[in-house]
Every structure is written in structure tokens, then in C-alpha cells.
Amino acid sequence: QSFGQLAVTKESKALIGLYHGQVRCKKNKFGTPQREVKTLAVLGAGLMGAGIAQVSVDKGLKTILKDTAQQGLDRGQQQVFKGLNGKVKKKSLTSFERDSILSNLTGQLDYKGFEKADMVIEAVFEDINIKHKVLKEVEAVIPAHCIFASNTSALPISQIAAVSKRPEKVIGMHYFSPVDKMQLLEIITTDKTSQDTAASAVAVGLKQGKVVIVVKDGPGFYTTRCLGPMLAEVVRVLQEGTDPKKIDALSTAFGFPVGAATLIDEVGVDVAAHVAEDLGKAFGERFGGGDVELFKLMVQKGFLGRKAGKGFYVYQEGVKNRSVNSGMDEILARFKVPAKPEVCTDEDIQMRFVTRFVNEAAMCLQEGILSNPVEGDIGAVFGLGFPPCLGGPFRYADSYGAKQLVDKLRKYEAVYGSQFTPCQLLLDYANSPSKKFHQ
């Protein structure tokens, strides 16, 4: 009887929806590519590059991992080894299998063998000039059919492709950290990217075991763009006097697997600052909220997050319960702004986060960045940690009710302005109660 009761809950519907979405996103809607990718080259042996290499060799894809410095290359190769060795320790791989898998990986400092590469994924430093330089270098050595993919998290692909001699072969392949655990791959196409390139990129992503969504090019694509406003809101809430632990508690209570403040630490405060600025420039006031200077000050003080050992929290090897970084007290005091009590209940704080997320997601669908709500839900849940029990932003909009969402947005808009202005799509759905994102 309990089973029957549970089976018809919203959560159940949401999870079933996610399952169906996953299945759908594991199909290649572009068909079969002309050529199978047999040799993959990854540029940059950093955290992301090594992670991409790991999931590729794990599935039998011959991979070249290239870096500019021996030390960086060694670190990256060691990361792949550690990742596979972890599985050996858990006994899901034998040491022999680990060594055989590693044999698929070639680490090198030069471009030897690139003439045989079918696809190059660049995961170099997030700087447009460096990416341009790398693209030009690589195009000189790769064969004509080889695809150039960029793992950038926010630089528009068309901007990267501007210096390419074959923009139809340039595509974005945005992986999520840690690459071996996060299932999502966000593929970004420009209007110049060919269908076959897209088909190839999807095929490689599926081979690596990823759940794939394909979105159009734009600042922040889909995933980074939805997260932006929510994190801006997090900063504002921090400035209004709520401490990081409370923010985490509220977000996890809502259903986010990772608390919002911890998420910022995981992403990297410097990355968050960078993204906030870039997206702010692209989208203007709507992406405002907290003061980005807060992030910048944190970066100055070296509180970059998990990667630096300190962010909102202090990260120590072997310590499970993190303590709040006491250095944050001073920073938070500096940026304090008065709170507006009418929008500061626990529920309000949660809704402020979520509505900005959902609003932005709807905006992406509206603008055609997203091709359908299913991919929107999958992307949000598997890439950003949107509460799975709610099924994703669009499923949530359906179950909570678009009208209710718009009402909440209006409530906050009255206090904070254009950052909460509901997008046209949401308004349309609010006005026709029969209209649902998911039928």
C-alpha cells in the first residue's frame, strides 16, 4: 500500500521523468557520424584534461594527453592513474585491467601523432588568447576531418572559432568536475558547426558514458548561465547577514545535493568571480545580485575554495566536518547590506535561489539556447545538482505551478527589481494553466 502511495507522489513522477530524460539523452539525435573517432587528443593535463582523458581511456578510446610542461603532464597522468587505482582498491578493476586501460593513454609534450587524431578536446587555461593560440597551433597539425572541441565553461564557442580555418569542425564539449563522477556533457554548437561534427561529438560523449545535452552557443551556454543568477543571489543573501552554514542547510533542505556555499567552493571562487563578471557584461543588470567584489576580495586573500584549501570553509585532508573559514567574518562584515525582513524567511531565501534559476532556465528555452525542456531538466540535475526529487527546473515549474512561480518572482521583483522579472515564457505558461512543459 505504501508503494502505491509513493508511486503517485510528485517526487516519484520527477524521478521517473529524469529516468526517461536520461534515456533520451543517451541517444544521438544527430544520427551516426561519418567517421568513428578512434584517436582522441586532449590538450592540457590539468584537472579537467586529465579527467576527460580518464573517462576516454576507461572506455577503450586511444587518447593522447598533451601538456606544455613535464610537471603538468606528470600530474595529469598521475591523476588518471589514481582514479583507476581507486577502482582497483574497491576491487571493481584488477590491477592488470588498470594497467591495460592506462596503455591506451600516451602522455607527451609535443604534437606527435596528432596527424592521426580524429578529435581534439582542449582543456587549457580559460583565457581566450591562450585558446586562440592553441587552436591555431593544432589546426596546423591535425587532419582535415579532425574535430576541435573546447571544454570552456563560459567563453562563447563562436568567439573561440573566430580564428579557425574550419569553423564547421569547431564545437564546445563542456564537461563537469569531477569528470569521472559527473554524468553530464553539455555540447554547444554554433550556427557554423556542421551536423556531422555534432553527431561525432555526441557519439564520443556517449562512448565516454556521459548523458548528453546539446545547446546553442551563447554566453554561459545553458548550465553556467542558469547557475550565475542563483550564485549572485547567494552572495546577496550572504551580504544580508546569513552565514554560509545556514545557506548550505537551506539549500540541502530544499533538495540540492550540495549546499550553495559549498558549491561555490567546489567550483572555485575565482571561476565564480570570472563568470559573474563575464555574464554580467553580457546580460547586464539581470545577472546582478550580490557584489562581485566580495568574490574578488576572497580571491585576493587566497580563499579560492577547495582547490586552495580555503574558501567559505576550510578544507583539510582527512577532516570530514569542515569548519567555516574564520577569515570570512571580516569580508562578510565589509560587504554587509541591510536585509529586507519581508523577503528573508527561510522559505524566501530558498525561493529566491530557485526562482532565479528556473527563470533563467526558462529564458534559455525561450531564446532557443535549449531545444527542449527535457534536456533542460537533465542538464540542471546532472550537471548542476538541481534537486533530483524535483525533477529539474521545468518539471518543478509544472508541479509547483508556473503561476505560483511568477507570483513569487513578482514578490521579489518588488523588492529587488529587474533581477526577478519573470521571462515571457514563464508568463505565458502562467497565464494558461493547461500549458505544461512536460505533457
Binding site: F96, D99, S100, S103, T106, G107, K112, G113
Partner: protein, 473 residues
């Protein structure tokens, strides 16, 4: 029979041809050579009618390291796998083109008795590619190569990968025989009473482990000891040995710094940095070396740690093909593998004299003289051993009395001899050295502009000589 004369040769009983081969290398060379000489060389080419031309396409090795350094936590098949991967990368040869893989090794890791197979599978070769492992002491990889040559010549294969590996950082240390017997019997014991009675027989001496030694089984003599006796028999002085060792290290350093050691491929060791260079090359000074005490025959011996090859970890791999196949695949081979001779002698008194015996044989069969050879690559087990061989080759007396020849073979001129260092300085992972000698000979022929190279190595009572010709590609 150990009385020795201080000068030149010692008397051996006539019946000392012993073919026991625990640490023996031998090559068998046979083929009819075509007479063609027009040039200063006795023979223009060593090609034989009706016999396939077999070529060395490429040869690599991972850096040879002193035992107990960066490779210490690995297993032999890991080193062999790294050499195979290095070879695949260097040549870009598709894995499914390789018909067979043969590896040589001496001190076997018990878990991987067919190290060639484990290394091949680990390197991503198809499980349908056969692989086997051979052992012939220090000429194990030479044996691997000649096995490969045989298979290609017989038409069974077109492409063979041969190699060698040795890991001296981890050796099979066994329980004593008594302990082993007790353990095995315990396995079979059924009742508690039987088990207890077995256990009660265990005594302290049961716990003494058995260690493998670099020694002849048939004579119970360590190789260093035998080398010392050989050096004494040929009146090779301590000074001469130290000088030779210094030469080896100096030339090796020069070659390493000058980028001549092209066969070395980098190896990213899990948990450690990428290894790119051999770490045993250390040119010292005559004074420093002079201070060392003899290592094997104390206190009057002449063989020390400085003038012997050191315990090394390493692996090598070489790609052999029929010439036809290599050209068809678009490769530029580095050398032909023409002739080889294996000989064996008495492991007691002639353990390390192999090169002297085999060199004239292979030269005769090839129709060449010592003067025709442009590049010599001999394995340097001990400086004393090399010098003793050189003296023997230069002695009419030895040739007449021991080799049944009319006159001496002639010693190889030192300016053509091991010019880029040798096993003494670069290191001697027992099984892997043979491939290193061959590919170094090939590279030297190219660099120094020669046509014929002679590779020779001794191995505990037997030896190998291989003759290779430069491939004009």
C-alpha cells in the same frame, strides 16, 4: 683444475667442451654468403640467395636504472609493457600487424612466468597474438631476437617484436626447502593430529630464506668470482680494468649528453616522475676507483664494484620484420640482421670467454675479416672479462692451443669498440641488454658511416655473436 699460469693462457683439460647452459648464450649462424667483394670490404653484401632479408625497423628501451631506484615498486611485466608501448609509439605500428612477441628474462618473477604474454596483454595487443618468454642468461634478448629471426625466415611470421626485461629490485626469495616441504605436506594433511605433528617438526633453520644468486648452478661459483679468475689468467691488471671502466663511463656520459642514446623512451612511473635518462652513468676518477676493495675474491682480486656492471632494472623492445613487409608498410629499416652464431664452452673455466670463440666463426661464415667490421658492440659484464677476451683474441698461442686455429683472430680496435658506452656504464638488466646492443650498433653504423656491425655477448659458459649490416634506406 685451477692452477693458472700468470702469463697469457692457462692449460685446460682437453675435454672441456661442456654444453651446460644455465647462463649461456649462443647464437647459431648459418647461411651461405654470396661472394661479391669489389670494395675494400671483403664482401659487398651479406644477402643470401633463397633466404629472406630480415630487418630491424626500430628498437627502444626504457631508461636503465640502478636497482632500488624509481622502478623498485614495479613488476617486470610493467617494465616490459612500458618498453612495448614505447616501441608502438615510436613506430606507430598497428598492434594487429605484430604476429608474435618474444621476451627474454633471467630472474623470473614467479607470478608472471610468461612475462612476454603479460606485457603484451597489458600493452593492448590482441589476446590472439601469441607470446612466449625465453631465458639464456645475459643473452636472453639476443635469443629472443634470433627466435624471431628464425620465425620470419621460416615464413611463419612477417613481424615479430622481440625484447628483454629484468627487475633486480625485487627477486624471488623463497622459503627453505624444508619449510616448503612442510607447507606442501600440510596442505595434504587431513587430520588435526597430522597437521600438528608436521608443525612440531619446524625448527629455526627452517626459516632461513633461499636467495637467488648470480652464480652458476653447475659450478656453484659466482660470476664475479669467475671473472676475477679469468682476469688473473690473462694477466689483466687492476689498473687496466679501472681504466676500461672509466672509458666506458666517460663515453656513456658523452653519448647521453650528446643526445646519441636515441633508443631511450621516457617512462611515466605510477606515483613517481617520468624517467627519461639512465641513472647509472657516473664517470669517476682513477684515484676514487683505486680505493675500492675487490668485490669477489678478497683480498687479492682485481674485480671491484666500479669495474663491473651493476644490478640494473630495465626493459627493451625491438621490431623485426621481413624486408618486404617493412618496405610495404612504408618503414625505413635501420639494419639487416644477417648472421648469428651461438657457441658454448666450459662454465667452469671459460665462463666469460665466449666472444673469443664465436667471433671468428661468424666472420668466417660471413666471409668477412675483422677489418671489415666498422662497429663493435660487445656486452661489458666486467672490465676484466672484456680485456681478457681482447687479449685472447689477440693471441696466436690461445688461438692455436684452445681454438684449433692457425693464427689469432685479432682484437677489435678500441676506436670502433663500444663508442657510446656499454653495459658497465649504461647498466645491465640481464635480459634486456641484447636488444640494446643491436639497436646501438645500428645507430652507430648510421652515425659513423659504417656498413657492418658485430654484436657479441658472453653469458655464463656460452655466447652470442650477431652480425648485422646497415640498411641503406
Amino acid at each position: 683444475m685451477s692452477s693458472m699460469l700468470t702469463h697469457a693462457i692457462r692449460n685446460l683439460p682437453a675435454s672441456s667442451a661442456w654444453a651446460a647452459r644455465v647462463f649461456a648464450r649462443s647464437l647459431s649462424c648459418s647461411s651461405q654468403l654470396q661472394a661479391a667483394a669489389v670494395q675494400p670490404k671483403s664482401k659487398k653484401t651479406l644477402a643470401k640467395s633463397g633466404v629472406k632479408n630480415i630487418v630491424v625497423v626500430e628498437g627502444v628501451r626504457i631508461p636503465f636504472l640502478q636497482s632500488g631506484t624509481s622502478y623498485a615498486d614495479l613488476m617486470p611485466h610493467d617494465l616490459a609493457r612500458a618498453a612495448l608501448l614505447g616501441l608502438l609509439n615510436r613506430t606507430s605500428v598497428p598492434r594487429d600487424v605484430v604476429d608474435y612477441i618474444v621476451y627474454g628474462t633471467v630472474i623470473q618473477e614467479v607470478k608472471t612466468s610468461n612475462v612476454a604474454r603479460e606485457a603484451a596483454l597489458g600493452a593492448g595487443f590482441s589476446d590472439k597474438t601469441p607470446a612466449h618468454t625465453v631465458t639464456m642468461a645475459c643473452i636472453s634478448s639476443n635469443q629472443a631476437m634470433t627466435t624471431g629471426v628464425g620465425m620470419i625466415a621460416a615464413g611463419q611470421c612477417d613481424v615479430v617484436v622481440a625484447g628483454g626485461v629484468e627487475l633486480m629490485s625485487d627477486v624471488p626469495i623463497r622459503h627453505s626447502r624444508k619449510m616448503r616441504k612442510t607447507m606442501l605436506t600440510l596442505n595434504r594433511a587431513k587430520t588435526l593430529g597430522q597437521k600438528l605433528s608436521l608443525i612440531s617438526k619446524i625448527r629455526p633453520d627452517y626459516f632461513a630464506p633461499e636467495l637467488p644468486a648470480v652464480a652458476e648452478f653447475s659450478t656453484s661459483e659466482t660470476m664475479g668470482h669467475s671473472a676475477d679468475r679469468l682476469a688473473a689468467a690473462f694477466a689483466v691488471s687492476r689498473l687496466e680494468q679501472d681504466e676500461y671502466a672509466l672509458r666506458s663511463h666517460t663515453l656513456a656520459k658523452k653519448a647521453q649528453d650528446g643526445g646519441l642514446l636515441l633508443d631511450v623512451v621516457p617512462f611515466k612511473v605510477p606515483g613517481k616522475d617520468t624517467v627519461t635518462k639512465d641513472n647509472g652513468i657516473r664517470p669517476s676518477s682513477m684515484e676514487q676507483m683505486g680505493k675500492l676493495k675487490p668485490a669477489f675474491v678478497k683480498p687479492y682480486g682485481t674485480v671491484t664494484a666500479a669495474n663491473s656492471s651493476f644490478l640494473t632494472d630495465g626493459a627493451s623492445a625491438i621490431l623485426l620484420m621481413s624486408e618486404e613487409k617493412a618496405l610495404a608498410m612504408g618503414y625505413k629499416p635501420k639494419a639487416y640482421l644477417r648472421d648469428f652464431v651461438y657457441v658454448s664452452q666450459d662454465p667452469k673455466d671459460q665462463l666469460l670467454l665466449g666472444p673469443t670463440y664465436a667471433t671468428p666463426k661468424v666472420l668466417e661464415k660471413a666471409g668477412l675479416t675483422m677489418a671489415d667490421i666498422d662497429v663493435f658492440e660487445f656486452h661489458e659484464a666486467f672490465a676484466g672479462q672484456i680485456l681478457a677476451n681482447l687479449k685472447a683474441m689477440d693471441s696466436d698461442w690461445f688461438a692455436q692451443n684452445y681454438m684449433g686455429r692457425k693464427s689469432k683472430v685479432g682484437a677489435p680496435p678500441l676506436e670502433k669498440f663500444n663508442n657510446w658506452g656499454g653495459s658497465l656504464s649504461l647498466g645491465h638488466p640481464f635480459g634486456a641488454t641484447g636488444c640494446r646492443l643491436v639497436i646501438t650498433a645500428a645507430h652507430r653504423l648510421k652515425k659513423e658511416g659504417g656498413q657492418y656491425g658485430l654484436v657479441a655477448a658472453c653469458a655464463a659458459g656460452g655466447q652470442v655473436v650477431m652480425l648485422c649490416g646497415l640498411a641503406p634506406f
